[in-house]
């Protein structure tokens, strides 16, 4: 019989990932420590979320998505932005002076399975993903069943991410600055190119042949059920890759 490698406990996971942790992420800081500071400092701490760039990016996405005729997306983005801002403020109140600390890895009871069990888990996930992609892809695009399927899975994945990484990873060294800046330049250029095409449409909700957005270019593929299923499976795979980061 093959014996799986013993999974590290939560405390060992935390030991891998301490570099960026703020107070409270470690085992000894489970209790809230509300510092009885002056009211002004408490207000500043409570607004810590408003100093998070990600919150403002999400708010911008919520605004532009809503005025582009996708109010559901806008409301969901607004909810997440508000939740992140509230969470950051809450943590800042508990631990003044701490940055956006890294939460410990989620303590999955079974750890990472090994050998055949891992193979079975991966096969199960692939089969589940294929079923999900097939079922949700069979629904009409922009229908309520498709919307429910996407929102349900998206909510689960975001909540998993909110808890912390699913497994400990080495902190890693610093990234090369120049190479990182090149990456950022390329990705920002792509976003600006898409935005330029969007703004050159007759309106935000009307497609343009001369200035197609990525959505317009993918419409032919997404208009068929098999095309939707294939792209949904790719979307799922990307989500799993990100959750594993």
């Amino acid at each position: 019989m093959r014996v799986s490698r013993a999974a590290p406990g939560p405390e060992k996971r935390g030991a891998h990932d301490r570099s960026g942790e703020g107070p409270g992420a470690g085992p000894g800081c489970a209790e809230a420590v509300v510092v009885p500071g002056r009211p002004a400092s408490r207000v500043i701490a409570a607004t810590a979320g408003l100093r998070e760039p990600v919150v403002w990016v999400l708010l911008a996405i919520a605004f532009f998505t809503a005025i582009s005729g996708k109010p559901v997306d806008g409301v969901l983005m607004l909810l997440v932005a508000s939740g992140l801002a509230w969470d950051a403020g809450r943590r800042a109140l508990r631990h003044p002076g701490a940055g956006d600390g890294q939460a410990p890895a989620v303590a999955w009871p079974a750890g990472r399975p090994g050998g055949r069990l891992r193979l079975a888990v991966v096969a199960g996930l692939l089969a589940g993903g294929a079923v999900y992609a097939g079922v949700v892809g069979s629904f009409s695009r922009y229908s309520w069943p498709a919307t429910a399927g996407i929102i349900g899975l998206g909510t689960v994945v975001v909540l998993i991410g909110w808890h912390g990484p699913v497994r400990a990873r080495p902190a890693g060294g610093r990234l090369p600055v120049a190479g990182t800046l090149v990456w950022i330049a390329v990705l920002v250029a792509g976003c600006l190119w898409e935005l330029a095409a969007l703004l050159q449409q007759p309106s935000l909700t009307t497609d343009s042949y001369p200035h197609p957005t990525i959505s317009t270019l993918t419409d032919p593929v997404l208009s068929t059920s098999p095309g939707r299923s294939v792209l949904l499976f790719a979307w799922l795979a990307l989500g799993w890759y990100l959750v594993e980061r």
Partner: protein
């Protein structure tokens, strides 16, 4: 060359840039991080991790949902 083709070429240039950077990062000694390294670094904080996962969820919403 019309506007449609120029727009598509722009997307292809960006896509090509991503592929080139990933190849440089994984197949050469050029000091460029891979996209996976970038994502891992960005996801070390809670806001970064949630932000990137929300961006992923938004892609699904944008292309498939109402």
């Amino acid at each position: 060359m019309n506007s449609h083709e120029i727009t598509i070429i722009g997307y292809l240039v960006v896509l090509g840039g991503i592929v080139v950077l990933e190849v440089l990062a994984t197949r050469t000694r050029v000091p460029v991080p891979s996209l996976g390294d970038l994502l891992t670094r960005a996801m070390r904080s809670r806001t970064g991790r949630v932000g990137i996962l929300v961006a992923w969820a938004w892609v699904g919403l944008h292309f498939f949902a109402r």
